[in-house]
């Protein structure tokens, strides 16, 4: 891979995405416990994200690497007013690669411009979270055998959902068909629909969450958050509408899988968990292999 950093999924070509997905499978099938022996990985979480941090730390630990870092800005020198640049240049001395999460958009790209060691973006505000996207793609590949020609249903908050935007951009390399299911207030923004129009890819918009998912290969659920609504009444109207229930799986395709970036609140009923179509916890496990593939690849430990 030519990249030294993983900052935005939009920097990665179709071939580069496929390569990471292949490598993730290799890490799953042939664990490499000593690969990061002697390496120190910094996890700099300028805002807390326990789930993402645990996934990265598990990925590194299972490869024999060591971890330094902080879990939120209050325990770092940022709270004393240190600039991001100074933090990055300091941590450059202590580690071989930096995984960072930051509340400001563009923070990871800026860090990659000042850093002498690779940067992995673990989320920069509402902008990018590329390791999530790559683990989503690995999950699709693993369950469907291919990334090509999928019918993908994105459900919930499609307006502010960074995860669904990046997934759309990445899957647009693979001739996907998209179905958008959301409350009218939280529709997919025009810029993403224009991107699909430009590529000649099909998409359909729905406001009802019904048995149209019978055509889906992938149903990707997201959380509809109260704070996204200016009118609380509007939230009350929709909060129980975009919920996946077990009976809705009855007429779905045999290969269909339900994905969710987690954490879930109520948008997937817990009775769905027992279905073999529920894939979100395995999806989280896939994140560990995908992050191993990314770190090893950026460090040049694997081609």
């Amino acid at each position: 891979m030519n990249h030294r950093n993983l900052v935005s999924i939009n920097d990665f070509s179709k071939e580069e995405i496929l390569r990471i997905v292949e490598l993730a499978a290799e890490f799953e099938n042939n664990p490499k416990p000593g690969l990061l022996n002697g390496k120190v990985i910094a996890t700099l979480f300028f805002e807390p994200s326990t789930r993402t941090r645990l996934s990265f730390e598990s990925a590194v630990n299972r490869l024999g690497g060591r971890i330094v870092g902080f879990t939120d800005a209050s325990s770092s020198s940022t709270s004393k007013g240190e600039s991001l640049k100074d933090t990055i240049l300091t941590v450059n001395n202590y580690s071989d690669l930096i995984v960072m999460r930051h509340p400001l958009e563009g923070a990871a790209l800026y860090a990659s411009e000042v850093s002498s060691i690779p940067i992995v973006n673990a989320g920069d505000g509402a902008n990018q979270h590329p390791t999530q996207t790559l683990l989503d793609l690995y999950s699709i590949k693993k369950t469907q055998g291919s990334l090509e020609n999928m019918n993908i249903f994105l459900v919930g908050d499609l307006k502010y959902g960074r995860t669904v935007h990046s997934l759309l951009m990445a899957m647009s390399h693979f001739n996907a068909t998209f179905n958008f299911i959301s409350p009218p207030e939280l529709r997919m923004p025009d810029e993403y629909k224009m991107h699909l129009d430009n590529l000649g890819l099909k998409y359909y918009e729905h406001s009802d969450f019904t048995d149209i998912i019978s055509r889906a290969d992938i149903v990707y659920m997201t959380r509809v958050q109260r704070e996204r609504f200016s009118d609380p009444m509007e939230y009350e109207k929709v909060k129980n509408v975009y919920v996946l229930k077990k009976e809705m799986l009855e007429n779905t395709k045999a290969n269909m899988k339900v994905l969710h970036p987690l954490p879930r609140v109520n948008e997937i009923s817990t009775d769905v968990d027992d279905s073999e179509k529920a894939y979100y916890f395995t999806q989280a496990l896939n994140g560990v292999y995908t992050r191993q593939a990314i770190i090893a690849s950026l460090l040049g430990l694997i081609k």
Binding site: L84, L104, E105, G106, A107, Y110, D124, N127, Q128
Partner: protein, 154 residues
């Protein structure tokens, strides 16, 4: 030298004449080029009649020849601008501005959560030119700053 039009603002001996600036953007051009901090003689005229622009402005900067990216930065606010390089009162070379592919440091990103609005980071944009309609995609946060918001910030 050519008679008439250019004489509406007194001639300069050596330097650059920047013509066909939309009158309303004169002061933004001055600020983008840093002319407010410039030591040599500068004269300008504004609200001059122009068949193309309605009301145009013209700036004459003595002892300075603008080149390349230095001048292309004004393309955002004066895309039709023409440059005449003057030596001994004669036009020795003409040039137009080109919309650059990238632009740094002249406008703020529209996104309040952008790193460039919160840390000491110079802004950088990729210029999107859609049929003459210019907008800027932030190199850092990927958000689009459109013409309307640029105007407010420059």
């Amino acid at each position: 030298m050519t008679k008439g039009k250019q004489l509406s603002v007194s001639a300069i001996r050596n330097g650059t004449v920047i013509d066909h600036i939309p009158a309303k953007n004169l002061f933004r051009v001055i600020s983008i080029l840093g002319l407010d901090k410039f030591d040599h003689q500068i004269t300008f005229g504004t609200n001059l009649d122009s068949t193309k622009l309605g009301q145009k402005a013209i700036i004459k900067v003595s002892e300075k020849t603008f080149v390349g990216d230095e001048i292309n930065r004004i393309a955002l606010v004066a895309p039709e601008a023409r440059l005449n390089f003057i030596k001994d009162y004669e036009v020795v070379e003409k040039s137009i501005v080109k919309v650059p592919l990238e632009i740094s440091g002249i406008t703020k990103c529209v996104n309040p959560k952008c790193i460039t609005n919160n840390e000491d980071v110079m802004t950088k944009f990729h210029v999107i030119n859609k049929n003459g309609e210019i907008s800027l995609k932030c190199h850092y946060c990927e958000k689009i700053t459109d013409q309307e918001h640029m105007s407010a910030e420059i």
